[in-house]
Amino acid sequence: MLELIHFNILSVLLFSVGLYGVLARKSAILIIMAIELMLNAVNINFIAAAAFKHGGGLFTNFDGHILTIFIITIAAAEVGLALALILRIFRNKSTVNVDQFDMMKL
């Protein structure tokens, strides 16, 4: 039978793949993509929780779904801003690799 635990495990999997993407990837854009994956994992968790617990407990008026909507909007805004910054830094340093961004060390 399909239960909440399945969806949670799926979101954890997606979350850790996204996490790996953020830590391992060199190019900034790929890091942004990986963060998108993590946010989607969060959305899955929210909607699964809302769907399975509807009516029971304190779950009232579809909070989970609305949370997801807000998260999607903010994720979109964030991608826009991040890519603007990436373009700006590309124009200055003609590279997008994160390990070249170490002008500020000791």
Binding site: A51, A84, F90
Partner: protein, 167 residues
């Protein structure tokens, strides 16, 4: 009833493989496409959870807008080793860390009895009730979200605009 289970497992398998594709593939364009397919399969998951409206929203915004913008960004930031991308030299540690996170979280899920005896019926969420609560109980966050979008918009323009001068 196991029909739901089968569909869910197929879609989640597609989702996880596309996610891994995003993260592992050597070619940057491939990873972008993998991202598109992953997001679409997430929309599928929403359908399994009987929230059609959100699936559509997911498809439209993520599939339509965000991936396209990322592709634009990829196109604009081509440099000499355009298609090839490597991982940074610390990728094994990254792998270990993410596996550890995976283990801790999943252990917590399996341990938690609240999750285990959650109800097994999926209750659908109609668009009408979604809309009404969005504009009544959640009005304040809604206004704020609009401001956030405004700031992102202005910020992106200010940063990306290539005007002359300045040191």
């Amino acid at each position: 009833m196991n029909m739901h289970l089968v569909i869910f497992s197929v879609i989640s398998a597609v989702l996880i493989s596309c996610a891994l594709g995003v993260v592992i593939s050597r070619n940057i364009v491939h990873s972008a496409l993998f991202l598109l397919f992953a997001l679409i399969s997430v929309a599928g998951i929403y359908l399994v959870l009987l929230t059609e409206f959100l699936a559509i929203v997911q498809l439209l915004i993520y599939g339509g807008a965000i991936v396209i913008v990322i592709l634009f960004a990829l196109m604009l930031t081509r440099n000499e080793e355009y298609p090839r991308i490597q991982n940074n030299k610390l990728w094994p540690i990254a792998g270990i860390l993410s596996v550890l996170v995976l283990i801790t979280l999943s252990v917590s899920y399996f341990q938690s009895d609240v999750i285990r005896n959650a109800s097994t019926t999926i209750s659908p969420a109609g668009v009408k009730s979604l809309g009404s609560s969005l504009f009544t109980t959640w009005a304040i966050p809604f206004e704020l979200a609009s401001l956030v979008l405004l700031v992102a918009l202005i910020g992106a323009i200010v940063i990306a605009r290539s005007d002359k001068g300045g040191n």
